[in-house]
Point group: C2
Chain length 224, copies 2
């Protein structure tokens, strides 16, 4: 393993300083970079139990699939992000199945489930890290769920951005998230999160101090 | 605190044998039973941060609330179950807000957030326990979400139960969950979970060896 990869793994497995020398060795001799083509399904629900994933490059998409083949995206994972749901079989508290695809061509460090399971059993810090990662994904899923269930705020923000851009006669909206939140009677955090979501859909580009509308048609379709 | 309460707390806080004497003492002198009337809202989203809850009796309902007042139930908690989302402020990985009501008159042990926070910081087993409880609720939420999104299986099971009951000319369905699953091309676990859900809605009563339909009208409304 080259030095950069080693540093990358140590940085993102933030239980590293709680490992014994033997446990470090176990990880380093059992973690491998795997390349996935764009569109490849890495993990297929309850029958799979690959291990823990650490994204080196590219992007993964986690979703649920209905019996009829309907999908719902839960969250995406980019560089430096970790997925434990691909090792759900070894964590009793997880009783649901997800699918994971490479949304872009991706390189992923995979630590196989047997080694990961042994680590979780031996070292409470590893187990705790895993549950913490899952809890942060729980937050992502709650957000996606609220969008699906309640939907309204997304629409209100889209309408606001369109109106503001027409008013100013420009595709740049020079307002803070705070002041947009005030306009909409919402919270800054909610506005920021939704704008980030719009950015991930390629609708806006965010930079310090302004929001650039790059796909007005998509924004209109959300607003209507 | 009486002896039964003490045993109850020790049993459900399953990190108990990892506590120091001082930490045990800290819990026992800071945990209190609180009575809530039916309908009382115990926890109101992000502004509240009560602490960790252990249900002694009754039933709590956890839900999300939209800006427009629309609700979606996430999961329910009965005797012996624990809620950590009511102390979300101290766990960084939780960035969503829930509401918690007493669905029935309930008695709940509350360990206030300051003591709980100190314990989580001092003792990784307590922190790990908290994240594990949250992960099991993540599983509940995923299940609720899939019902809301995909819905179909519920309907198929309802239709099957109605048909079977008409065929046999009785409100008792004497089949194993396994064989129902086979009939529906599904898994035993999925059938069991859905039947438990029907039971919580007062539609069926489950006992060893049979399923009794107690509210055929509700079942019909699901089927249609």
């Amino acid at each position: 393993m080259d030095k950069d990869d080693l540093l990358f793994i140590k940085k993102h497995f933030d239980f590293w300083d709680k490992l014994t020398a033997r446990q470090e060795e176990m990880i380093l001799s059992n973690i491998f970079p795997v390349k996935y083509e764009k569109g490849h399904t890495i993990h297929r629900g309850g029958n799979d139990c690959l291990g823990i994933l650490l994204v080196k490059s590219g992007r993964l998409r986690t979703y649920v699939l209905s019996e009829e083949g309907k999908e719902a995206t839960l969250f995406r994972l980019g560089r430096g992000e970790i997925c434990v749901l691909s090792a759900a079989c070894i964590l009793d508290s997880i009783t649901f199945d997800v699918y994971i695809d490479a949304e872009l061509s991706s390189e992923v460090f995979v630590l196989a489930k047997n080694e990961f399971e042994r680590l979780c059993k031996e070292n409470v810090y590893v187990e705790n890290f895993s549950y913490k990662v899952i809890t942060s994904h729980f937050s992502d899923v709650m957000w996606a769920m609220e969008q699906m269930l309640f939907m309204r705020f997304e629409k209100r923000l889209a309408i606001f951005l369109i109106d503001q851009s027409s008013l100013d006669g420009t595709q740049y909206i020079k307002m803070t998230h705070e002041s947009i939140a005030n306009h909409l009677g919402s919270a800054r955090e909610v506005v920021s999160r939704m704008l980030k979501y719009f950015e991930s859909l390629g609708i806006v580009e965010l930079s310090r101090g302004d929001i650039k509308i790059v796909d007005k048609n998509k924004l209109r379709s959300i607003a209507s």
